[in-house]
Structures are given as structure tokens and as C-alpha cells.
């Protein structure tokens, strides 16, 4: 009756309906935005014709690589940093200010260092994501109960085995929080870098379409990115919630 989910869907439907009405009524000019139904049909047409599949595959593929690098390096370095108190204390101000630093300012430098290929974009995406992963993993590792660590010691596990079989599974809900952020950051990194300077990918296609007033390409691409990122995010959030619920934490 008063289900929040129902209301959420209603609000969303109302918002889309309003946009549709404003667009069809001419309040929002077609040059500014096309009506939502047209964006969706354009997206379907675009995907089925396959004209931009290369760009889409390139961007999502690079984002995936950046995400995997951020996760592997982030979790590994968090495990190492967690053991070194002094290093962690020193890095703490960096973690706190990291997201205030405009990382894109380093993009030209990276292009010169790594060449104008996919490498600098992946580097930016991974660089943006990694700190979120480290911070959240550290947070999770802090909460591993001492009993579990002692059990691992009693069973004479080595550091690697302890990490893989005890600490990481225990910290996994927090690592997933980091993973959610890393998904968003790797997409932001890749697409932002493609906006600034690149020769392909969705970000490039969006800015190209923008410069040519080609709304029939631009809006579907934007919609696709939004749908992809929200879907991945919701899937991870659900997984995280299930893990938390299994432990009776939420």
C-alpha cells in the first residue's frame, strides 16, 4: 500500500512522463533534448545496427580492465598497508584528500608517458578507483574479529592463506562497498579521459555527437552509460546486502 518501491517507480514514471510532455509540448526544444521514448527507440536502433558497437565495447572493456586492476591492486595494497601501522598513518592524509585532487590534470602527462592509446585512460580509471578500494578494504580489515585471527594462528595458516581464507571473506561486505565505488570511478576515468582527448570510445562519440548537434546519437549513448552503471551498482548493492543479512548485521 505504502510500499516505498511502488512510490519510487511512480515518481520515476511521473518524472519521465513530465519530460515526455515538456518535450512534446515544445517547452524543451528538440535541439536541447529529445522526448524519452525517442531516446529509447534510438538506443534500440543504434544497438541493433551495431554502428557504435566498437566504441561501446572499447569503453566498457577498458572500464572493466581498470576496475579489475583497481580491485586487485587495491585489495593487495590494503592487506599490506594494514600490517604496517606507520605507513598507514602516513598515507591517511593522502586518502582523505585524494578525491579532492583533480586527477584529470595528470592526463596529458600520462599521454606523454604511456602514449595516446588505451593505456593512459585505463591508468586514470584504475588510479581513481584504487583509493576507494583501499580505504574500504582497510575499513573491513579493521573489523575482522580477533578470534578469527587467533583461530587462523592456531591452525598455523601462513599470511597468504590467512588473507584468502579468513580476513578477506570476513571483510567482503566492505570490499564490495569499495567495488561499487570502483565501478563508478573506472567509468568516470575512462569516459572523462575520452572526452578530453582520444580517438574512440563512448566518451569520444558523445562529445563528437555533441559538437555536431547529433542528439540522436548523444542521448542514447548517455542513457546506455547510465543504465549500465546503475545496473552494475544495484547488483553489487544487492550482493552486499545479502552478505550483511547473512551475518545479521543489517
Amino acid at each position: 500500500m505504502r510500499s516505498p518501491l511502488l512510490w519510487r517507480l511512480l515518481v520515476l514514471a511521473g518524472f519521465i512522463g513530465l519530460l515526455e510532455a515538456l518535450c512534446l509540448g515544445g517547452v524543451i526544444k528538440p535541439l536541447t533534448m529529445q522526448p524519452p521514448h525517442k531516446i529509447v527507440t534510438d538506443l534500440v536502433k543504434m544497438l541493433s545496427s551495431g554502428s557504435l558497437n566498437g566504441a561501446i565495447a572499447k569503453t566498457l572493456g577498458n572500464a572493466l580492465i581498470a576496475f579489475i586492476i583497481a580491485m586487485i591492486l587495491g585489495v593487495t595494497s590494503a592487506i599490506i598497508i594494514h600490517r604496517l601501522r606507520r605507513v598507514r598513518d602516513t598515507l591517511e592524509p593522502l586518502f582523505a584528500t585524494y578525491y579532492a585532487i583533480p586527477v584529470f590534470a595528470f592526463y596529458p602527462l600520462l599521454i606523454i608517458l604511456l602514449g595516446l592509446g588505451d593505456a593512459p585512460q585505463i591508468f586514470i580509471g584504475a588510479m581513481l578507483g584504487i583509493v576507494a578500494v583501499i580505504v574500504n578494504t582497510l575499513n573491513g580489515l579493521d573489523r575482522v574479529p580477533n578470534v578469527l585471527l587467533k583461530t587462523a594462528r592456531v591452525n598455523q595458516m601462513g599470511p597468504v592463506e590467512t588473507a584468502l581464507r579468513v580476513t578477506l571473506p570476513c571483510a567482503s561486505p566492505y570490499i564490495l562497498t569499495g567495488a561499487k565505488l570502483a565501478v563508478a570511478y573506472s567509468l568516470i576515468g575512462i569516459i572523462g579521459a575520452e572526452f578530453i582527448m582520444s580517438s574512440g570510445g563512448m566518451g569520444y562519440e558523445i562529445s563528437f555527437a555533441y559538437n555536431n548537434f547529433d542528439n540522436a546519437t548523444m542521448y542514447p549513448l548517455i542513457l546506455l552509460i547510465l543504465v549500465v552503471s546503475i545496473t552494475i551498482n544495484m547488483a553489487i548493492a544487492r550482493w552486499e546486502k545479502a552478505l550483511m543479512a547473512k551475518r545479521g548485521l543489517r
Partner: protein, 249 residues
């Protein structure tokens, strides 16, 4: 408290030294083509800061950033207090805000440009949408976590809703709200700069973008340094203030 802020200072200094050493080492490896040494960059930045060109762009960026921050704080607090006060509203809207927070906002920029046109307003709008959601989300949680006893005391005293917010909810939730403001501050700054980088004729972001186009390494390095130092300093100061607020409550 004093000991704690002392250790923050020491850690920050260690970090700065490590970064400078790594920078110098990288310069020796890479060479003049893409990098300048820390010393050269500081010298150039110092010289560049006294030019009228810099002052003009800085003024433009500060204006955009100030406006965006003001809007982000005002809208964020309004949303936060409205949703935080009502269980039902926050149940409906909070997941939507979280979903919005997770999307790469950079993809929305062309839409903002079409809606607001080139120039100041789209920059401000871009900065605002970056900052507003974390402020709102933190405020919602902060308001919701205010102790029931405080609220009941307020009711017993017969406070009006406005007094309730001004005298009880706001002071009680301040440390957490401030944490949101700190994140909102950084994100708004990044949003404004990104806005200037992609479509603008003025401001530090534009200056950086044109330096990238001209491959003016001196200028790129100097601007990156200045922006990083500004963002870093602001963030450390806000963090210290926030810790003091938490310690007090």
C-alpha cells in the same frame, strides 16, 4: 586533541617529502619532454601567479566555484532535512539519490551544456550536481541519527518546527553534516574544474585544457600543482575542523 593534530601534521609532512622525492626521481627518469622538476615548477608557478592573466582566470573560477558550492549546500541541506525528517520520504528517495550518486556524472555534461548554454551557468550547474548529492545523503543520515531523547525534549518544551531544526537537530547533527560538506566541497571543486575543462573560455580549467592543447609543460605542471595544493590544503583543514567537531560532541 593536540597530540592528534600534531600527528596529522607530522604525517602530512612525511607524505609531502615522499611525494617530492618521488616526483624528482620521476623527473630524472622521464626528462624534460613531459615533466619539470619540483624546483622548476615552484619557480614557474610563483612567477605565473603574479601575472594579471592568472588573476583573471582565478577570479572566474572562484566565482563559479563559490556559486556552485553555495547552491550545492543550500539544495543539499534542504533535501537532507526534508528527507531526514520523514521515514517514508527517505525510504522512497534515498535509494534514488544513491543511484544518482553512483552514475558517472561526466556523461551528463553535454545535456547540461545544451540546457544552460556555454559559460558560467553550465559550469555552476555541473559543480552543483557533483556536490549536492553527498551533502544530501550525509544530512539525511545525520538527521535520522539524532537521539530520540533530544527530539522528545524539544517536543516537551513545545518548540516550533523551525526552532526544532535550529536549536536541536542542526547542532546535534552538525559533525556528520560537516563530513558531508567536506566531501561536497571537494566534489564541487572537481565538478567546476571539469566543467571549465570541457567547455569554457575562461577559468583555470580552461587554462589547463589550453595548456594541454599547446603542450605547454611548464603551465600544465604549475596549474596541476596549484590546484592540487589548494584542494589538498582545503581538504586537510576541513578534516581537522571536522575531527574537532566530532571530539566536541
Amino acid at each position: 586533541m593536540n597530540r592528534q593534530s600534531g600527528s596529522i601534521l607530522r604525517n602530512t609532512l612525511t607524505l609531502i617529502v615522499v611525494v617530492l622525492v618521488a616526483w624528482q626521481a620521476l623527473y630524472w627518469i622521464v626528462g624534460d619532454i613531459a615533466l619539470r622538476s619540483p624546483l622548476q615548477t615552484f619557480a614557474f608557478a610563483g612567477k605565473f601567479m603574479s601575472t594579471p592573466q592568472f588573476a583573471q582566470h582565478l577570479a572566474e573560477t572562484s566565482k563559479a566555484f563559490g556559486l556552485a558550492l553555495l547552491l550545492a549546500v543550500a539544495i543539499g541541506l534542504t533535501i537532507g532535512f526534508t528527507l531526514g525528517a520523514s521515514r517514508f520520504l527517505s525510504d522512497v528517495f534515498e535509494p534514488m539519490l544513491i543511484a544518482l550518486y553512483s552514475i558517472p556524472k561526466i556523461t551528463l555534461y553535454p545535456i547540461l551544456l545544451l540546457a544552460f548554454g556555454l559559460g558560467m551557468s553550465s559550469k555552476v550547474a555541473f559543480g552543483t550536481i557533483h556536490g549536492v548529492i553527498p551533502i544530501a545523503l550525509f544530512t539525511i543520515t545525520a538527521v535520522r541519527n539524532v537521539k530520540r531523547v533530544y527530539l522528545k525534549t524539544g517536543q516537551v518544551m513545545g518548540l516550533s518546527p523551525l526552532d526544532m531544526i535550529a536549536r536541536i537537530i542542526f547542532p546535534a547533527a552538525l559533525p556528520e553534516i560537516f563530513a558531508g560538506l567536506r566531501i561536497g566541497f571537494s566534489l564541487t571543486l572537481i565538478g567546476t574544474l571539469l566543467g571549465e575543462m570541457f567547455a569554457s573560455q575562461r577559468g583555470l580549467g580552461f587554462l589547463l585544457m589550453s595548456a594541454i592543447g599547446l603542450h605547454n609543460v611548464d603551465l600544465i605542471m604549475a596549474l596541476t600543482l596549484l590546484l592540487t595544493v589548494f584542494a589538498g590544503t582545503a581538504s586537510v583543514v576541513l578534516l581537522a575542523l571536522n575531527q574537532r567537531l566530532y571530539a566536541r560532541s
